[in-house]
Symmetry: C2
Subunit: 223 residues, 2 copies
């Protein structure tokens, strides 16, 4: 197919596709002549993937380029699949600076007492430390005990993640990287919906319990 067809197929403008070609986000088509090139399904898939990572995953184009590099690279040692994937994801996350402070030590201590076996140098420890610290500043009451409760549920999610990774190492890198990046938004949306469902349940219970009419009923979100 021509560039214009690729455009209508993916809903991305020709100008933008040209830009992606220039930036190396999209591999060149098979040149039929100096002013004619042929694109195929791999190009359609690639464009859709770039858009998904950008719009749904919220990644920058520079990050997407790095992600694409890793998941299309052929020579991946089957021993280091997860390592490579994690390193890609670490770079994908907007790592700003290194904190190395008390918050990182707290996270390490918490991980240990929670019983998780994790490399103490793992870059996501920094991410967690920063995020946890932000919650502290906002006085959200996120303490070790609540973190434990979150972690137990998240571990269940991670088990689903890991159990669905294919055996083939090349497919595995792709699956882990994309599965992590693209499922994150799914989980975020699910959380919002679940909050609504759960608080509705409480509201219903409160209404049944107190028998309040429409007016002045307080039981909304409160526990």
């Amino acid at each position: 197919m021509r560039l214009a067809e690729l455009s209508t197929e993916t809903g991305v403008s020709v100008a933008t596709l040209k830009y992606y070609l220039r930036e190396g986000l999209l591999h060149a088509g098979r040149a039929m002549s100096r002013t004619q090139a042929e694109y195929d399904e791999t190009h359609v898939d690639r464009v859709r993937l770039v858009r998904a990572l950008s719009e749904v995953g919220g990644l920058s184009l520079a990050t997407i380029e790095q992600v694409l590099e890793v998941i299309t690279e052929p020579g991946t040692d089957r021993l280091h699949v997860l390592e490579v994937a994690q390193r890609t994801l670490a770079r994908a996350s907007r790592t700003v600076g290194s904190d190395e402070g008390a918050s990182v030590r707290r996270v390490r201590a918490w991980i240990e007492q929670h019983g998780w076996e994790i490399d103490p140098q793992d870059p996501f420890i920094d991410d967690l430390a920063r995020a946890w610290e932000a919650c502290d500043h906002a006085a959200l009451g996120l303490d070790e005990e609540r973190m434990d409760r979150y972690a137990d549920h998240v571990e269940g999610i991670a088990e689903v993640d890991v159990s669905t990774v294919p055996a083939d190492p090349e497919a595995a890198v792709r699956h882990v990287v994309l599965g992590t990046l693209l499922v994150d938004p799914v989980l975020v949306a699910l959380r919002r919906l679940a909050q609504q469902h759960v608080s509705r349940g409480l509201q219903g219970a409160a209404a049944r319990g107190t028998g309040t009419a429409t007016d002045d009923a307080d039981g909304m979100v409160s526990s």
Copy 2:
């Protein structure tokens, strides 16, 4: 304190603080004279919150402004606490366009059969539809059954969320909005760490079975 002190206290440059003042992200200090203003702890908190929402939460300044507007607005009907919070969060999420297609219908059907009680017009249904669709295009094998498994774990998270919301309605809006936005990154980081922990468990089990030796430097990414 002076603007310069606010700057050293928060680690944000004076120029940037002036910018925040102009944009309305930071309330003005108490003017002592035409060239002197007094700032206090509320300003320090506010600046830290803005930075947290920006750097940790990844929100744009325009979105942060809307969030601040809601969580500082005094007159919140205690009936609509969650509604207000959800609407704020809906605007906070980068809603691009309306899909209204088959993917939205699938999500609605899935929610119903999963047994969640949710407003069919909920904006996060669109978000979930988009995210799920992106996973489909990437061939990640995210089917209804796996979604059920994710949802069960996420429901546990939402129960923790809801159970920690304070009774006071004004505090509740703040808590729900910030708790949702700032805890998201915590959960994301936890998921990465949990994946590592879980797959280490499997790898350990496999290694005990096969007894592999590792040498041969990891073929790629180093910088």
